[in-house]
Structures are given as structure tokens and as C-alpha cells.
């Protein structure tokens, strides 16, 4: 399977970018939870990164075209595991997004991100269209996309549902949709919104309104945004220094080790640290995009683009949220936020990128 030519083409820079960001993540997590009950989380994160890297390397062993053959099967498995979440949460009312396998908690919604990328790539690879796809050809991709998205939204995990949709629509734009179809889709989408809105209960409407305008909930989401902005802003140009952040330590910021890790980082390392992290993500994304267009086939190009868009949207939305530019949604910052399932899905994505990258010269 592995021949020597593959090793010479191994994409070391990509792996190194990922490792640097992960290292920063562990370092930052140590500070975020320093002196807290969860102060051991950084060690668990190292373990997760280790497991993630192992799966990354495992994925590079087989030719990625092999995954194309199993794309729909994999998609089916991820749907079944989403159903399992509902059954599991019906039995365990205290959890709503997880299933427990042995000692590990596992979040199938994360798996669905990869499953959607592979399934859409297989479909668009199988039916190539140079002049763009019309609505009829997009029915099947819409189904692929909307079934897991709705299930995840129902959990309720709005953040992940939105990221699934963003990844899917990015891929559809990438493979080209006909202008006419795009316009119809947008108009159609907008016109059914009022009907859906009327269907909602008042409290659901309120939740959605505060989702888009957190200042409507100054005691909840709006307050978290303010605290996150204060944390980041008080970091100034060079930051308060490692372990010196105060704002994030006092639980003013909820989930300072998951959704709001960037606030911790920017408070302690200032604008300089923030920009360095941003630059690292940008490098990673540009590198991944380069893999996509240099891929030797359509399937590889679409998969690589899907993984890149997954990283891109998570970075933009997570940091945008911490900066108070975006609605508050639970979306992890890739390789930085604590969380096994999120690390795993990102690392699997990186494995696919490496796989596509190292096989582009081999026919």
C-alpha cells in the first residue's frame, strides 16, 4: 500500500501547522483552566490530540479513492449514530448530544461533518457538470445535507447544524451551481422563512432573536459577549501574559475552555498573539486550498475543499463570536477548543488533506 514515493511526497508543512496550533491550544487550555476543578483538562487534550494524530496517520495509509467507495456507507453510519443520540438522550435526560461508548463520550454530530463532505464529494464526482448544476441535480445533495442538519438542530445543537449547512453550501458553490438555480434557491429559502417563523412557539422565536441579536438578552448571551470583549480588549497590544488573564478565570466567560478559548488567548497575548494565531490559521487554510486545486482528481479536490471550508467556517465564526461580531453559537475553534470529538473530526479532516496531497503525483 505505502510505497516509498508516497513518503517522499508526505506533506510535512501541513502537519507542522496543525501541530503548532494544537500546541498553542494545549498551552492556552492550561492557562484557561489553571487553578480550576478542571485543571487537568490540558492533559486530556494532549491525549485527544495523540488519538487524533494516530487516526490522521491511519487515514493516510489507504488511497483516498478507497474512501469514495464507502462514502455513502459512512454517511449511513453517521445517520444511525445520530438516531442513537436521540434514543440515548431519551434514556438519559441529562445529556442531549452525546452517546457513551465504553468510558468515552462521543458526539456523532462531529462525525457528520466528515460524512457530509465525503458523501457530497462522491455525488459531485460521479456526476460532473462543467456548466454548473441545476436544481434538479441538486435535490439529492440537499437531502444528503438537510437530514443530518435537521437531526443535529433538533438535539438541539444549533452551532453544529449551522456548520454542517455552511460546509455543504460551500461545496455546492465550489462545484458550481447555475446562476438561475442559485437565485431561485435564495428566493425560495427567503420566502418560506415567514411560514416557518409562524410555526414557532413564542419562546423559540425569542431564542432565535437573541441568537442573532445577543443584546436582546443582556443577562445571558449579551452579557457573555460583553465579558468576552472586555477580556480581549483588556489584553491590549501585547497581552497580560501567560496565566495573568483575570477576566476569563472568574467564570465570567462561560465555557472558557471550549467556545471562548480565543478570549483567553487574546487576553493573555494581546493583539500580537491574536494576529499570530490568525496568521497560522490562514496559512493552514491557504495550504489546504492549494492541495484542493492541485489534486489529481475531482473527488480529491472536492473533499479537500470541504475540509478547508470546515476549518475556515469554524475559525471565522468562533473568533467572530468572541469578538462580538457574530451570534453566540457553540462552535469549537479548530485544534484549540477542548473536546475529543471536535479534535477527532478536525484531525480526520487533516488526514484526508494529507492523503490527497501525497497522492497527487501518483497515478
Amino acid at each position: 500500500m505505502i510505497d516509498r514515493r508516497l513518503l517522499t511526497h508526505f506533506d510535512w508543512p501541513l502537519l507542522i501547522f496543525v501541530l503548532i496550533i494544537s500546541f498553542i491550544g494545549v498551552f492556552n487550555l492550561y492557562s484557561a483552566t489553571f487553578g480550576e476543578v478542571e485543571s487537568h483538562l490540558y492533559a486530556k487534550q494532549i491525549l485527544w490530540i495523540g488519538i487524533g494524530l494516530a487516526s490522521t496517520l491511519l487515514i493516510t495509509v489507504f488511497d483516498y479513492r478507497f474512501y469514495r467507495d464507502f462514502a455513502y456507507l459512512f454517511y449511513g453510519i453517521s445517520l444511525i449514530s445520530l438516531v442513537a443520540v436521540f434514543i440515548y438522550s431519551a434514556m438519559h435526560p441529562e445529556v442531549s448530544r452525546w452517546i457513551k461508548i465504553g468510558p468515552l463520550f462521543f458526539q456523532p454530530a462531529e462525525l457528520a461533518k466528515i460524512a457530509i463532505i465525503l458523501a457530497l464529494a462522491k455525488y459531485f464526482d460521479h456526476f460532473p457538470k462543467k456548466d454548473g448544476y441545476g436544481l434538479r441535480e441538486l435535490i439529492f445533495p440537499f437531502i444528503i445535507l438537510s437530514v443530518p442538519s435537521l437531526m443535529v438542530a433538533k438535539q438541539p445543537d444549533l452551532g453544529t447544524a449551522i456548520s454542517l449547512l455552511l460546509i455543504g453550501f460551500s461545496i455546492i458553490l465550489f462545484v458550481k451551481i447555475k446562476w438561475k438555480s442559485l437565485v431561485i434557491m435564495i428566493i425560495g429559502g427567503i420566502s418560506i422563512l415567514p411560514f416557518i417563523w409562524n410555526f414557532l412557539m413564542p419562546y423559540q422565536k425569542k431564542r432565535i432573536l437573541t441568537f442573532f441579536r445577543p443584546e436582546l438578552d443582556p443577562l445571558g448571551a449579551g452579557y457573555h459577549i460583553i465579558q468576552s470583549k472586555i477580556a480581549i480588549g483588556s489584553g491590549g497590544g501585547l497581552g497580560k501574559g501567560f496565566l495573568k488573564g483575570t477576566q476569563c478565570k472568574l467564570h465570567f466567560i462561560p465555557a472558557q475552555h471550549t467556545d471562548f478559548v480565543f478570549s483567553v488567548w487574546a487576553e493573555e497575548w494581546g493583539l500580537a498573539g491574536g494576529l499570530i494565531l490568525l496568521a497560522l490559521y490562514l496559512l493552514l487554510i491557504a495550504w489546504g486550498a492549494n492541495i484542493s486545486i492541485r489534486s489529481k482528481d475531482r473527488f480529491g479536490a472536492i473533499v479537500a475543499f470541504g475540509v478547508v471550508s470546515m476549518i475556515f467556517w469554524h475559525v471565522i465564526i468562533n473568533i467572530g463570536m468572541a469578538l462580538g461580531m457574530m451570534p453566540v453559537v457553540g462552535m469549537p475553534l479548530p485544534f484549540m477548543s477542548y473536546g475529543g470529538s471536535a479534535i477527532l473530526s478536525m484531525m480526520v479532516g487533516v488526514g484526508l488533506l494529507l492523503n490527497i496531497s501525497m497522492r497527487r503525483y501518483i497515478f
Binding site: 465550489f174 470583549k229 472586555i230 480588549g233 472568574l250 486550498a289 489529481k296
Partner: protein, 628 residues
């Protein structure tokens, strides 16, 4: 396999477009960081010191509790409270010393309060004392500047307009504890919140609570408010309209004054509770701001158990009241007919044991009607013996005994209806026939709550339908709009034919209105009161002991269960007086006064006497009755 890079040229063409879009996104993030950290950096870093932006909550005022006519039983009043924010306290010793001097709160007590709240969100004020006087308020206010971390705030607190009236029913409040916080029901609650802990306050907590508001405030380095940034008003909770009638409840409370026992009154046509009294009672205002340790100890160590709601938690032998069920079982099973005559010579022999009748000389020749009216034990020993315990148990259960009625109050007790199977399971012993005799007259293992007996007789009084006792008629929003109305819920039909139902009603009428009836005391002029007396033995005694000679705690419990008027029952009532002696003397007069009072209330409203007998027209009269 497809050839090489086929089908990706078109993808490559749009590559730049995506890259530019991505770059714009990153640029926006970078600019925003620069804006926050450089341009607004100084301002935000000032706010970050001492966490200058805080949330001060505005607690919602809890929904009111009203009687069926909208009279306020419980509402809220303002209370001045002293709170501490430990994070802001500069000199702990000085602060606690000051509190000790002014409010007489020892530093240890303050320490305990802080300890109890150590899992609260940071900077959330901790309540130290409620209801401080105006003088103390003035003192605290003048010293507040020297004592950072000390807050005086006004918050709503429960006001009990009628003291301990209906305290078991409405329940009490308390601070949420760690165990409750973990439950799904209390999602969104925080340490230090006050919740309903008992009674209606607990059961309807989600409706009563309301929505807390809050102020987002900027404070100075000492935790003092500088300005309010945002404000969210609190929303008061919903009001509960109980099915209780205030006047009737007050009358019932007065009738039990100085006694231990319970009175429960109900509208038998729909199961609405009209009054529910349990004595001794407690003062719910002790709990309003979280009860203190000493008060709690006093309450739970009181030998008369003031916290127990005897109406639903007191389990007693039903005594002769149970004979109405033995009679119905006998009629339905055909082991006795209304015509059959049995002889009572004052005792009944079974094997080598003698079972006595309460009347030493015996009743002579009696039929079923007279046996109920005069409560002849010997007659029912024989009916019970013919039925056997398991048939008797089946009928008792058919009347809702032996299981909770399902009233929406916590810890309702099920009572106990024994059967041979039950005895095998619990004692691993066979059932003795002699035990059947005891059970047939409501002694022995049988246990019931006053509410269960009330429910059973209410079903007899009407069409045989058992209702789930109902306490809350409807829930109204603060603006008066009805949020939810509760309809009567039928939980079953008692096992009885129409003829037998008529027969038993006649007998219960006789208990009160015939000259030799045991319930004569409950007679009301021109009203067909019907009922049954009962005496629950606490322990078996020799028959020749005079009642005055029996120690109080061994004296029998007195029962009277009744309804009125027979043609169209509008009220049913169960009275139990613990250690009251005979039902006829201790409980029947109380039941009479309760029914009389309710008839007077209805008369005043022009709703009594009813114009038509039972029938369709009656329904409309009744429904008018409940909608005020």
C-alpha cells in the same frame, strides 16, 4: 478509473474567488481585534479590573394565591435585605464586626452563609438577613461607603394574609438546595434562589415563579454601582385561584382549634376541595426567607407533627365508616339482601373468640338498613364473614381506598387495604377469619386517609364517579388573562348498581335523621344531611374502662364523613379528630357546622336552596357556582 485531473479545471478557475473571500473574512477579524485591543483597549481594560460589569438580579415577584372567589390569601410585600459580595469585601473582620453590632448576626453565621453559597456564580450577592428594620436600614446605608461588598436591597417576600391558615395546603418556601439544583425541573435556577418546597407552592412552582429580571451595571473599584448599562424587568409569576372558599376554610380552622385532626370538604359533583385543614399547623412565614435552624428543629421535634398534612398523610383505621363499603360489597355480591334479618345479642362467637358489638346489650333483630343506621358491629361481622377478606378488599379498592387519590400535593399516603395475598407477602402468614371480622367494621389492618374516605362518600353522594381531588381551579397571568383552567378528572366509578346506591343513600340519611341513628348530632333543619360515624381504635381496651380514664394518647380517633343535601349534594366533608373518642360526639358536630356554614355562604349568594332536583338543570346551576 477515471483519468487524472479530469473534471477539475472548472474548479480551479474559481479558486481565486474563494481565496479572496476567505482573506476578507480574516481581514475583518484582524481589524476587529485591532479595534477592541488598541482603540478601545484602555477603556475595556479599566472595565476588566475588578470585573466592573456585573449583573444584579431583580427577583420576580411570585404569583399570588387566591381563594375561589379571588380573595388574596398570599401575596408579596417588600423586604429590605442585607447582602454581601465577598469578592468586593476589603476588610472581612470589619464588615462582619459591623454586621454583628448592628444586626446581631455573628461572624460564624455569616461564615456559614458564605460557605453554603460557595458554588454560586462569582459576584452574585449572598443574602445575610431579610426584613431588617427601617432603623437598621438607615444605619447600614450611612456606613455603606466604608464597607465595600455590603449591599442593601429591597426584594419581594411572601406575605401570608391569614397567618397559618391552610398552611399545609399552600405549603412553604425555602432556599434551593444542591440536590434540587441538579434536577431538570430547576434548570435555570441558581444557588440562593427561593423555591416552593411543599404544598401548592411546590407543585405549581413553574407557574408561580415568574421570570427574574436584572440590571447590567458598571461598578467602581469598591463594587458600588456607577451606572446601569442595561435593564431587563422581571415578570411576576402567574396567580393561582384555589378551589378553597376562604370563609369556609376559616370556619373549619376555628372548629379544630386546640385539637389534633383534619377536616376536608369537597364539592362531590366535581372533586373540588372547598376546605382543607390539618391541626396543629405551622406558620409558613417562618420559611419565607429560608427557615433558620432553631425554628426548623422546633417544628420537626414537636410530638404532634405540625408539618404533617393529616388530610392526606394521616393514616387511620376507618372504623364504622367502613361499614358502608362492607354493606355495598354484601349487596353487590348477593350475600345479604335488604330484607334479611340477623340477630345481634351484643357479641358474636367465632371459634373460641368472642367479638363484641359496641352496644353491650346488643341490637336485637336488625336488617341491613338498621345495621348501618345504628352501626351494629355483630351484623357486619357476619356480612364480612360471608364475603371473605379478598372480596371485601376488591370493593374497598373499587372505592379508591388503599392507593393515593392523586391530589397534587407531595407525599400523599396510600393507606392500606389488606388481603390474604398481602398478609402472605408481608408477614408470611395465612389470613385468619377473625381478622376478616375486624376489617368488616373498619378495624384491624385497614388504614385510610381522611381524603380517601371523603372521596369514597362523595362518589356515593353523586352518580358513583370518583374524582381526582382538585385544588387549583385555574391559573391566571398577572394581567388577569386565564392561562389554564383545570377540569374535573374522573378516576373511576365505584362498583355499585343504581338500586344499591339508592339503598345505601337512604341508610346514610337514616344515620343522621332517624331517631336511633348514630349521627343525629349532625342534623340540620330542612336539609337532608347524610353521613356515617366512625371510631378508630388506637389500641384494644377492655370494655369497662370509662373514656375519661384512658390516657389521652390511647383514646380512639373520631370520624364523621357526610354530605348534604341528599337530593343534590353540594358539599361533602370528612372530619377526623385524633383521640376525640366517639365519632358521634367529637366529629359530627364539627361536620355539621362546616356544612351549615357552606349552606349559609351559598344562601347569601342566592344559590341555595337549589330550585330543581338532580338533573340537567342542576348541572348548569353547578357550573355557575364554580365560575364565580
Amino acid at each position: 478509473m477515471r483519468l487524472g485531473s479530469q473534471g477539475i479545471e472548472d474548479l480551479q478557475r474559481r479558486y481565486k474567488l474563494f481565496l479572496i473571500a476567505g482573506l476578507i473574512g480574516f481581514l475583518a477579524l484582524g481589524l476587529r481585534m485591532w479595534h477592541l485591543q488598541i482603540i478601545k483597549g484602555e477603556e475595556l481594560s479599566r472595565l476588566s479590573k475588578h470585573n466592573r460589569i456585573r449583573i444584579r438580579e431583580i427577583p420576580a415577584s411570585r404569583g399570588m394565591i387566591l381563594d375561589r372567589k379571588g380573595r388574596i390569601l398570599i401575596d408579596n410585600r417588600p423586604s429590605f435585605e442585607v447582602l454581601l459580595v465577598p469578592e468586593d469585601i476589603v476588610d472581612m473582620e470589619k464588615t462582619t464586626g459591623f454586621l454583628h453590632r448592628i444586626l446581631r448576626v455573628t461572624p460564624e453565621e455569616v461564615g456559614k452563609r458564605l460557605e453554603a453559597n460557595n458554588h454560586r456564580p462569582p459576584f452574585k450577592p449572598i443574602r445575610i438577613q431579610s426584613d431588617i428594620s427601617r432603623l437598621h436600614l438607615a444605619l447600614l446605608k450611612t456606613h455603606q461607603l466604608d464597607l465595600p461588598g455590603l449591599i442593601v436591597d429591597v426584594r419581594p417576600r411572601r406575605a401570608y394574609n391569614y397567618g397559618s391558615m391552610a398552611s399545609h395546603l399552600v405549603g412553604y418556601l425555602g432556599e434551593i438546595d444542591g440536590r434540587e439544583l441538579k434536577r431538570d425541573r430547576f434548570k435555570g435556577y441558581q444557588m440562593g434562589d427561593i423555591i416552593g418546597k411543599y404544598g401548592v407552592e411546590q407543585q405549581w412552582e413553574p407557574f408561580l415563579k415568574g421570570m427574574d429580571g436584572g440590571r447590567q451595571v458598571e461598578v467602581d473599584a469598591y463594587g458600588r454601582e456607577i451606572k446601569v448599562l442595561q435593564r431587563v424587568e422581571s415578570h411576576p409569576g402567574n396567580n393561582l385561584l384555589l378551589t378553597i372558599d376562604l370563609d369556609l376554610q376559616m370556619t373549619a380552622e376555628a372548629l379544630l382549634e386546640g385539637k389534633e385532626g383534619a377536616i376536608v370538604a369537597m364539592n362531590p359533583q366535581n372533586g373540588q376541595i372547598l376546605a382543607m385543614v390539618s391541626h396543629p399547623s405551622y406558620d409558613p412565614s417562618l420559611f419565607a426567607g429560608g427557615i433558620n435552624h432553631d425554628d426548623w428543629e422546633t417544628l420537626i421535634q414537636n410530638p404532634f407533627h405540625p408539618l404533617q398534612n393529616r388530610g392526606i398523610q394521616g393514616q387511620y383505621a376507618p372504623g364504622s365508616v367502613f361499614k358502608m363499603i362492607t354493606a355495598i360489597a354484601g349487596l353487590e355480591e348477593g350475600v345479604i339482601s335488604p330484607q334479611e334479618i340477623l340477630f345481634c345479642g351484643g357479641s358474636y362467637q367465632l371459634g373460641n373468640r368472642t367479638y363484641r358489638c359496641w352496644r353491650k346489650g346488643g341490637h336485637g333483630k336488625v336488617d341491613l338498613h338498621r345495621a348501618i343506621v345504628e352501626s351494629c358491629d355483630v351484623f357486619f361481622y357476619q356480612v364480612g364473614q360471608r364475603l371473605g377478606i379478598d372480596t371485601l378488599a376488591k370493593y374497598a379498592k373499587g372505592f379508591g381506598l388503599g392507593k393515593p387519590t392523586g391530589i397534587s400535593l407531595n407525599d400523599e399516603k396510600p393507606g392500606l387495604i389488606p388481603s390474604s395475598e398481602w398478609k402472605k407477602k408481608v408477614y408470611d402468614e395465612a389470613w385468619y377469619q377473625g381478622e376478616t371480622l375486624s376489617c368488616a367494621i373498619g378495624q384491624g389492618y385497614i388504614l385510610v386517609t381522611p381524603l380517601q374516605l371523603l372521596n369514597a362518600i362523595s362518589a356515593i353522594a353523586t352518580e358513583g364517579i370518583l374524582y381526582r381531588p382538585q385544588l387549583v381551579e385555574r391559573i391566571e397571568r398577572a394581567n388577569g388573562k386565564v392561562l389554564k383552567s383545570y377540569e374535573p378528572i374522573s378516576i373511576g366509578k365505584i362498583p355499585i348498581s343504581p338500586e344499591n346506591l339508592m339503598f345505601i343513600r337512604e341508610a346514610l340519611l337514616g344515620v343522621v335523621n332517624e331517631d336511633r341513628g348514630t349521627g343525629r348530632v349532625a342534623r340540620i333543619k330542612d336539609v337532608t344531611v347524610s353521613g356515617k360515624t366512625g371510631t378508630a381504635q388506637v389500641i384494644s381496651l377492655r370494655e369497662d374502662v370509662a373514656e375519661e380514664d384512658i390516657p389521652y394518647e390511647y383514646r380512639d380517633h373520631a370520624w364523621f364523613v357526610a354530605y348534604a343535601p341528599m337530593e343534590n349534594p353540594i358539599i361533602s366533608v370528612a372530619v377526623l379528630v385524633e383521640h376525640g373518642g366517639h365519632g358521634a360526639s367529637a366529629s359530627a358536630p364539627i361536620a355539621r357546622k362546616v356544612m351549615q356554614k357552606y349552606l349559609d355562604i351559598l344562601k347569601e349568594e342566592g344559590k341555595f336552596p337549589p330550585l330543581v332536583a338532580r338533573g340537567r338543570e342542576m348541572d348548569s346551576l353547578n357550573s355557575r357556582d364554580f365560575t364565580r
